[in-house]
């Protein structure tokens, strides 16, 4: 199978879905770039290059550089979804959601429920997330717990190029609103990605690695961190299963519970803030529904309860590392 970057995988899904369905449009700041300027058109193709080439292929009516007014264009994406289009709207960094959360939380997420089941809002909101590039406190957050908290949203956090493509295609074809978050540290990573279109269903965890001593649950960029830890631990004779839920909402509770019952020891690795975060959410699921099979405390490896710092030494200490996972697993394996 051809090797592609995560960025290419996203780009391919967008191309294929726009081709497949005329109602799919793409909007956001600089999704093309160069609009109204003297030089190149499609100059950026998105701040991370994921939407490159769409302008040329589908034209300016369907690929729209927006003003820096997230409330207006995210809200417009919602309104357009209610009335026949299937917009893919980009918030460059998920941190910016603070200026437009109402349209996501109170409008898009709730239309269907409030309107008694008569509305459908097939919109995808893409955004980059995560620390690691010196973005500082306002450009490095992993805010998926906020979206996961909100009923009516589906939330997707892919960990590999293969998943990114298939999950994004699913998100675009899905009739419910989807928040699709891409780790900015993964854009340049590569993996096998089929050329043709395919979808990956939501709510189905991926067992990235089998193992019988400790269950590692991780999502997005943390899947790689968990895998790396698992490799180290293997050399110590500790065998880890790495489970990637892929979609925080819907969460594949069954697989998480089954694997817990099988293995009995769990470490959850997550990049979001710890309080009311995804690691806590999954831990509480297990503590309620798989308690009898637990042989040790459920450990969480997360950042501290602090904003994301700028300096590289601090930022590296903020994000969970394989070392910290190894340590947690060792503690749990003994316990």
């Amino acid at each position: 199978m051809p090797q592609k970057t995560f960025r290419q995988a996203i780009n391919e899904a967008l191309h294929q879905e726009m081709k497949r369905d005329d109602r799919v449009i793409v909007m956001g700041e600089d999704v093309a770039g160069g609009s109204g300027a003297s030089g190149d058109k499609d100059a950026w193709g998105g701040a991370f290059g994921c939407t490159k080439g769409l302008l040329g292929a589908f034209g300016p009516a369907r690929v729209r550089d927006t003003p820096i007014t997230e409330s207006a264009f995210i809200g417009a994406a919602g309104g357009a979804a209610l009335t026949g289009l299937r917009p893919v709207a980009e918030i460059m960094y998920v941190d910016f959601v603070g200026v437009c959360l109402d349209q996501i939380m109170n409008q898009i997420a709730k239309f269907r429920y409030m309107f008694g089941g008569t509305a459908s809002t097939p919109v995808v909101i893409r955004a980059s997330y995560g620390a690691g590039r010196g973005g500082g406190s306002q450009h490095s957050q992993s805010l998926y717990p906020i979206f996961t908290h909100i009923p009516g949203l589906k939330v997707v956090v892919p960990s590999s190029p293969y998943d990114a493509k298939g999950l994004l295609a699913q998100a675009i074809r899905d009739d419910d609103p989807v928040v699709f978050l891409e780790s900015k540290m993964l854009y340049n990573t590569t993996g096998e990605v089929p050329d043709g279109a395919y979808t990956i269903p939501f709510g189905e965890a991926n067992i990235v690695r089998e193992g019988g001593d400790v269950l590692l649950v991780a999502i997005g960029r943390m899947v790689g961190v968990a895998e790396e830890a698992a490799k180290t631990l293997e050399t110590e004779g500790i065998s880890c299963c790495v489970l990637d839920p892929r979609t925080p909402s819907p969460l594949d509770e069954d697989t998480i519970l089954e694997k817990t019952e099988e293995i009995g020891r769990v470490v959850i690795v997550d990049e979001s803030y710890p309080r009311c975060g995804l690691a806590a959410d999954i831990s509480s699921l297990i503590a309620e529904r798989a308690f009898p099979s637990l042989k040790a405390p459920i450990r969480k490896v997360t950042p501290p309860h602090s904003p994301v710092p700028y300096a590289p030494v601090l930022e590296r200490a903020f994000v969970p590392t394989p070392d910290r996972v190894v340590e947690a697993v060792r503690a749990v394996a003994k316990g």
Partner: protein, 325 residues
């Protein structure tokens, strides 16, 4: 002479809609006071000509979005009053199955994209509906009804900008009842609505919102422009708010004299009757008949609403998603 643009049937329809809104709101007040409306509700009485003057230009493929004060827009856009009354009573027969309530009445089959509990949230949604029409190559328009208070909200400015640069077939009807809750708009709004709109290069008109014909005329221009690809418009309608901010508001921030004068001098129904009488376009008997019909229809809606069963308990968790594994 905008009244001459309308057929007799249209004139009767306009009156019927305005009257329906008035009576619906008076009944909603009564039902609220009688304990039959579980949640809060904001009444549109007094502002009827604004909704109807605009919506008389719209068909079901045109879209509107409304506010917390949404009953009038809903009725003007063709929503079923039985379903609306049952909705505000929280019944299973409600237009949203009792899950929405007054602030979330919607009927997508009628092009009514929802009342909205968030001040200022409708305008971006309307930009999206207008974008759909534009991209899908339809002649449809989308109308955002917003209050004078909502006009200051950042979402409004962003939407005006977006609608202007994208030449969207969007119309923003700013219903200026002089108040955002208990605070006067003079206290919180800098400058004039039409000037602010004009600064976004959007044509803007200010009209007397108790004059159905004035609203109808302005909306006609705006709708034609939008359908012809001429982009957005703003219509500033100056309207009275007969009741307090919400049903039950003591409304003590307005003097009794002010409120009495408003009801006496600023009544779109009386104004309409005087105008069609003066111009001999309709006779009073036909309007009286509408009055009677409307009273009966709303009384019946209320009776049915009260008698209707509550939603089934299972509906608590349905409709959150179309499909959630």
């Amino acid at each position: 002479m905008s009244e001459l643009q309308l057929s007799q049937a249209q004139l009767l329809e306009a009156y019927r809609l305005m009257k329906t809104i008035r009576v619906f709101e008076e009944r909603a007040m009564t039902e609220k006071m009688g304990g039959n409306v579980p949640g809060g509700t904001h009444l549109y009485a007094g502002e009827e000509a604004s909704a109807v003057g605009v919506c008389m230009h719209l068909g079901p493929a045109d879209q509107i979005s409304s506010t917390h004060r949404g009953h009038g827009h809903s009725i003007a856009k063709g929503c079923d009053v039985d379903g609306m009354m049952a909705e505000i009573m929280g019944k299973g027969t409600g237009i949203c199955g009792g899950k929405g309530g007054s602030q979330h009445i919607a009927d997508l089959s009628k092009g009514m994209l929802g009342a909205n509990g968030i001040v200022g949230a409708g305008s971006p949604i309307v930009c999206g509906a207008a974008l759909s029409a534009q991209i899908l190559g339809k002649q449809d328009v989308a109308v955002a009804f917003i209050g004078d208070g909502a006009f200051n909200q950042g979402t409004t400015a962003e939407s005006l900008n977006l609608a202007s640069i994208w030449k969207l077939p969007a119309i923003f009807v700013v219903e200026d009842n002089g108040f955002g809750e208990a605070t006067s708009s003079a206290f919180v709004q800098a400058g004039e609505i039409v000037e602010r709109a004009a600064s976004f290069k959007i044509p803007a008109m200010k009209v007397d919102g108790v004059d159905f014909f004035a609203v109808y005329q302005a909306a006609g221009e705006a709708v034609s422009r939008a359908r012809a690809g001429g982009g957005p418009s703003v219509i500033h309608t100056v309207v009275p708010r007969y009741f307090g901010h919400y049903a039950g508001d003591p409304d003590n921030y307005r003097t009794a004299e002010e409120k009495a004068a408003m009801r006496k001098d600023r009544d779109c129904l009386k104004r309409f009757r005087a105008r069609v009488d003066e111009t001999s376009l309709l006779d009073a008997a036909a309007l009286d008949q509408i009055d009677a019909d409307v009273e009966a229809a709303i009384a019946s809606a209320a009776d049915k609403g009260r008698a209707a069963p509550p939603p089934a308990l299972e509906s608590l968790t349905t409709d959150v998603y179309i499909r959630y594994v």
